[in-house]
Symmetry: C2
Subunit: 330 residues, 2 copies
Amino acid sequence: MKTLDRSISRLISLLERRNPEGIEELKGLYCKCGRAHVIGITGPPGAGKSCLVAALVREIRRRGKTVGVLAVDPSSPFSDGAILGDRARMTEFSGDNGVFIRSFSARGASGGLAPVINDAVDVLDAFGKEVIIVETVGVGQVEMDIAKIAHTVVLTLVPGYGDSLQAMKAGILEIGDILVVNKSDQPGADGAVNDLSFEMPVTYGGKEFQCANIKADQWGVPIAKVSALKGDGVEDLVTVIFEHLMFITERNIFTGICQKRRSRQFLDILTQQVRDRFLETLKTDRDLQKWINKIENLKLDPYSASEQVVDLVEKARILADNGTTPRNNR
Amino acid sequence: MKTLDRSISRLISLLERRNPEGIEELKGLYCKCGRAHVIGITGPPGAGKSCLVAALVREIRRRGKTVGVLAVDPSSPFSDGAILGDRARMTEFSGDNGVFIRSFSARGASGGLAPVINDAVDVLDAFGKEVIIVETVGVGQVEMDIAKIAHTVVLTLVPGYGDSLQAMKAGILEIGDILVVNKSDQPGADGAVNDLSFEMPVTYGGKEFQCANIKADQWGVPIAKVSALKGDGVEDLVTVIFEHLMFITERNIFTGICQKRRSRQFLDILTQQVRDRFLETLKTDRDLQKWINKIENLKLDPYSASEQVVDLVEKARILADNGTTPRNNR
């Protein structure tokens, strides 16, 4: 492994385990953050996302930019041959100092993957990666959170989802800044593009694309036809991705996304820490077992018990606020 | 829809939205809980879980027991034809008063699906369903949590996962009380069963099964070959499931699982409520915006900011504990 990659990898591993030394190291890196363009690649299983990511990395490297890839794979304990094959395909970049690749499994990640991915994005950003690609499977809650990390969200679909697409359109259209119909060589690709088109065509980089919808910021969501495997349409897709970056940078949306991500991250960390400390306190509390016993013996239901405990804590807080809370530090 | 089903469905919908009236109604139902046998069906996408669940419901109904099915589908915004088809297959039970079916999407469920599923299991239990089947996709963190709700976990696999199975064995074997190799008519089914066999065969209901491992409670995990589509092996599988119920009931493990689930549920609700109240307090706190501004302007990193806030809260707590905490209610 390349030397710089080894430092990045070591730090991310520390942060995955919420290691205090790792967090201290990260604190010193925030001042270097805020420059990278974060691209989220999402879509259903089987849409060829890993293959698309490999094609994107190839094209972005051709344009001279450095890339970091964070692949989030919640189903990884069951990773089958196809997924392993896609990962193997990534070894084509193993000799390239400008590419860093790392996979994450949702398994065992307490508190969800969002905090870990946030940290990993910051690490790659601080270490100078110009483009960071976050690849996620599906659009469950975890994946939605991860999509919020990205400046540009690319939603990847394949021909043949026609009927259900029709039904889910409203939900799907919200997610992406760019829609990709992958496997464009398969029958039904043009039909899928047509199914998704609801607005007048848009032109980016001198090329016309059909348009799915107009976002609140007036960005017209283009539908790019791509065969990631053959490389068809990938150049145009990267052009569109960078056009989106330009669009959001010129309108100060880029900075807005970074700031929103930062404050959301702060609230995430804060609630996580409050939760951890609260659970720690509870564990050492001799009274807690009494509550649990009552619940296990069905003398008290969990909702009523919880309300009673929270009320007790709340009362303690209110008493503290009436005079003794230290507010001078704020 | 059947009248009883409508009441159940209404209450579950209220609980999904954390509606206070729904929670009040649920509180009154806990006394009727603790009788249902909860079966978890988990496994990778494409293992034919929905089809297996339909076959199980058919066989369990043939034996005269009432059934509730809770299908958790985190990828549902992208549900394709196959999944919709499986759901449609469930309409075969729409005229049967002894079957209740409900699907959940992970989308939009704040705080994960585990709380909602826990509540739904309690509702079905209280309304007298004798068997409750919880079907989940994959084994991410959410799914692992849901597996903890079940008394009997059935892990569903298909032939052709050979290589990766080999690699993941340790992890996979922990999860299931019963392994199913589905699509037993496909080539490689016997090979898959052999790959998973690590112990001497076990006999349940007069039939011999190959054995994956021996659990801590001395239950030998059988490997059942099933073709859910054709119905082959389903009768034996249901026999094994009920043998497992007998095994854990005789050894008082059943009660233990119920009690553990209850106390885990209590801690989940408690931390959720602490988190919600804390966030509520923060939102009305004029000082919070100052912290967020500092973070957005990169004057403070989110970890340091979070630590400082938690320390402030902690100090308030300690001051409160030194004399003024009301402890008499406990």
